[in-house]
């Protein structure tokens, strides 16, 4: 089993921390922000995390969920290390929160920056972002198996996989796929953002990508890209048609396609080290309210996010 996501995320303490926070939120709120809240994005503008943070900001402002304004600040330096160090340094400052992506785990490993996710106070998980194996719709490969077989028989490094950044989630998945095509490898080409990657695939400068749904959905709907398989244990629950004849739920899982690779990305929120339970409770409640809005549900569907983790029991079973 290639369960990279699980092993890197598999930390009961995170899960329990978040779970504890979720259950606590029922208690009366004793704390509220007294000045604008900085929502730090450890990535550049326009990416998945940035979009989500700005979306949350929009929902909070539109529905008046917080008396103080929420301000989104991008700190993309050093693969997000800049943002994480900022919040790590903001000890006991309740007016700073950070949205996380896989770089919460991969950045300290890849760059050696003195930072560990355990330094932060977990607030909650917003959703799990999916990954899908995409090829150009004019490519001959109709299934994930066919594509990987082609990699296996082709010349070493002939096939190019595009992805966001280096030593981050996209490359981790690529390495996982390469275990199945051994000894042949793919050439991993890192780009700046997920949107760029999707367009490079449309322009046939690369052979495949593992874009998040939201990064590639527009090109899929326009008929330029073809999804091969979803890196999740179960198919997506969104059954509404996205293209003329396909819904997210029509994309087979990679396991169904004979490729035993799963990967999902935590889209979570963390607070500064040492903030109080009341302060955590405020944010937990805030994000609950955000998640209850129609806007949020729409947004989740557009990006085919996996929302099942929002409820307690399944959440624990996934992590433990």
């Amino acid at each position: 089993m290639l369960r990279y996501a699980r092993s890197s995320l598999a930390s009961a303490s995170v899960a329990l921390g978040i779970l504890a926070a979720l259950t606590q939120s029922a208690t009366a709120q004793a704390w509220e922000p007294t000045k604008p809240v900085e929502f730090i994005v450890p990535a550049g503008t326009g990416g998945g995390a940035d979009q989500m943070a700005r979306f949350v900001q929009g929902v909070v402002a539109k529905h008046g969920l917080m008396k103080q304004p929420m301000v989104v600040i991008n700190k993309p330096g050093g693969a997000g290390a800049e943002g994480f160090l900022e919040i790590k340094g903001a000890n006991k400052d309740p007016h700073k929160i950070v949205i996380t992506l896989s770089n919460l785990f991969t950045t300290p490993l890849g760059t050696g920056v003195p930072f560990n996710w355990k330094d932060l106070t977990p607030v909650g998980m917003l959703a799990l972002d999916q990954f899908i194996l995409w090829v150009n719709s004019e490519a001959e490969f109709k299934s994930a198996k066919a594509y990987l077989d082609a990699v296996k028989v082709g010349d070493d490094r002939k096939f190019k996989m595009g992805g966001t950044g280096s030593k981050q989630e996209d490359q981790i998945i690529t390495v996982a796929l390469e275990r199945l095509t051994a000894p042949k490898k793919m050439t991993y080409v890192p780009f700046k953002g997920g949107g760029d990657v999707a367009v490079q695939l449309v322009g046939k400068h690369i052979d495949s990508t593992v874009n998040n749904p939201i990064e590639a959905v527009a090109q899929w709907r326009a008929g330029s890209l073809r999804p091969l398989c979803l890196f999740d244990a179960k198919r997506s629950t969104y059954t509404e048609k996205v293209t003329k004849d396909m819904a997210w739920s029509d994309i087979p899982t990679c396991k169904e396609a004979g490729i035993d690779v799963e990967y999902q990305m935590l889209r979570g929120v963390f607070g500064a080290p040492g903030i109080s339970k009341e302060q955590v409770a405020f944010y937990v409640d805030l994000f609950r309210k955000v998640a209850a809005t129609e806007d949020w549900k729409d947004y989740m569907e557009k990006g085919a996010y996996n929302q099942t983790m929002m409820s307690g029991d399944q959440f624990v079973s996934l992590f433990v």
């Binding site: 929009g58 600040i73 693969a79 760059t111 050696g112 690369i206 527009a218 557009k302």
Partner: protein
């Protein structure tokens, strides 16, 4: 003709009182944002984005895009008056705009800048209106190798424009490359040259460097030269606009070339900053008065401003049709589209006709409104130079510091700005040109990653840069530009003519 009907429909949408009101607000806010260095268009739009969530999507995008147009206009103001580029794409405007202001011709420079901006934008909007689908397909042909060839062409067309000696130009450029390499290497994911300082993780921001090199450096120079603005004795001339307009038609060819460069760079998406540099470089190379460049010629203001605005405007096209932003501001607008429930991408033109054509119509109207607003303010802006230096200099220093801080919300950047200010002053004293350093700093990073991506794809073979007609022709053009001075003098010798320097390094 379908498009014309749709566009007229768009005008009907954009011309409602509410939308026109938002348009004016947007332009004014944009000009202010453009004037303040550091608080760039992207930041400004991001800060104001939440305000628009309760508006209908069309009104919201009209206001936000007008902020963007305003910022494009506003960036030129401080470049010309104080040699401080408010926006990265205004750097090239300082090369001739500021010398003009020093000669007391600030009003002419401002008028030329604003008018050229308008012409560039108008050209780009017309391209968007009629060629959108065609142009979007062209953008898809740009892979890493093509991007590198464009960046190479930018360097090549710019080389030799330094006023210093060739070795000094090269030294300055190399320093720029070295500074651009600091931070995370996007290809290997390794940190480079940070020496364990976490503040260096994000590398040296282009804007911070520019605020320091140009803004602070200029202040230090002015202080040394006697605590007053050169050009302060420039008379206030209310007919400056008309007089400048009378001169502009002479530069129609420069203008057209800059429009084309701008549109091309905006769409591919190379961005407004390289577009302005490339356009300036080419204008200097091919102008009859090439030697006057850098000393305050109108043509040197026209070229970069036209290209920057054309690029800035056409950068919205890939955002709308492909969902890839051609500029940082477009990236923030892209986030906005999602929040308003719109899906940018190839189907936007089909599914959201009213929105798209409303936006395109607002590009026409917003730019006209912007031109009127900024032109009426020309005498006012030019009058700022009459304020005594001792009063305005501290204010500029503060604005620079605030600007540098705003880029990343980091105090460290303010110190970096001061350090760059000293570098700028020293360079000036020693006769090293700043432009190559700035160019290398802004493009070095991108050029490096495009080159290495291309090398990964081709598995190390440089033939990829000549693998198809598109990339091969851009590369050849770049090589031709690079060796032009050499070829020129060679041809001259062969003909036995007296060695006339054709666009050679000064």
């Amino acid at each position: 003709m379908d498009d014309i009907a749709s566009l007229m429909g768009g005008f009907a949408v954009a011309l409602s009182w509410y939308n026109v009101f938002l348009m004016m607000i947007g332009i004014l806010l944009g000009v202010i944002i453009g004037v303040l260095p550091g608080l760039g268009g992207a930041n400004g739009v991001a800060i104001l984005l939440p305000l628009t969530f309760s508006m209908p999507p069309t009104s919201a995008i009209i206001m936000l895009s007008c902020i963007y147009w305003g910022a494009l206009f506003g960036g030129a103001i401080t470049s010309i008056l104080f040699n401080i580029p408010g926006e990265p794409w205004s750097v090239a405007t300082t090369f001739d705009g500021h010398p003009m202001a020093q000669k007391g011709r600030a009003d002419e420079a401002l008028t030329a800048a604003f008018t050229s901006s308008f012409v560039g934008a108008l050209f780009a909007v017309i391209v968007i209106t009629f060629l959108a689908p065609l142009v979007a397909k062209f953008a898809l042909r740009f892979g890493p190798a093509e991007f590198f060839s464009v960046q190479f062409l930018t360097f090549a067309s710019f080389i030799g424009m330094g006023r210093g000696s060739a070795p000094k130009t090269i030294a300055s450029m190399c320093l720029g490359f070295a500074l651009a390499a600091v931070g995370l290497d996007s290809v290997t994911g390794q940190l480079r040259m940070t020496f364990g300082f976490t503040d260096l993780l994000k590398g040296f921001g282009f804007l911070i460097a520019v605020i320091g090199l140009f803004g602070i450096g200029e202040m230090l120079n002015s202080m040394e030269e006697g605590l007053e603005f050169k050009g302060a004795d420039g008379k206030l001339r209310l007919n400056a606009v008309l007089r400048t307009w009378a001169q502009l038609p002479r530069y129609w060819f420069t203008s057209l070339r800059s429009c084309l460069i701008g549109c091309w760079m905006g769409i591919t998406p190379g961005g407004a900053t390289p577009a302005s540099f490339m356009s300036y470089g080419l204008a200097k190379r091919f102008s009859k008065q090439g030697d006057a460049f850098g000393k305050g010629t109108i043509e040197g203001v026209v070229a970069p401003e036209t290209a920057a605005h054309a690029a800035g405007t056409s950068a919205l096209l890939p955002m709308l049709t492909l969902g890839i932003p051609g500029s940082p501001t477009a990236a923030v607008l892209l986030g906005g589209l999602l929040i308003w429930g719109l899906q940018p991408g190839p189907l936007l033109f089909v599914e959201q006709k009213e929105f798209v054509w409303g936006l395109i119509a607002s590009m026409y109207l917003g730019n006209i409104a912007g031109l009127i607003v900024v032109l009426t303010c020309v005498p006012l802006f030019a009058a700022i130079l009459r304020v005594p230096f001792s009063i305005i200099a501290p204010a500029i220093m503060v604005i620079c510091a605030v600007g540098a801080y705003t880029v990343n919300n980091a105090m460290f950047d303010v110190w970096v700005m001061v350090a760059f200010g000293i570098v700028g002053y020293t360079f000036n004293k020693l006769g090293y040109p700043l432009a190559p350093l700035v160019l290398a700093l802004v493009l070095g990073d991108q050029a490096e990653s495009s080159f290495r991506q291309a090398m990964l794809i081709s598995q190390g073979s440089v033939t990829i840069f000549f693998s198809n007609a598109l990339v091969a022709s851009i590369m050849s053009l770049g090589l031709l530009m690079l060796f032009w001075p050499l070829l020129g003098s060679l041809l001259g010798t062969m003909r036995g003519a007296p060695r006339k320097v054709v666009g050679a390094k000064q």
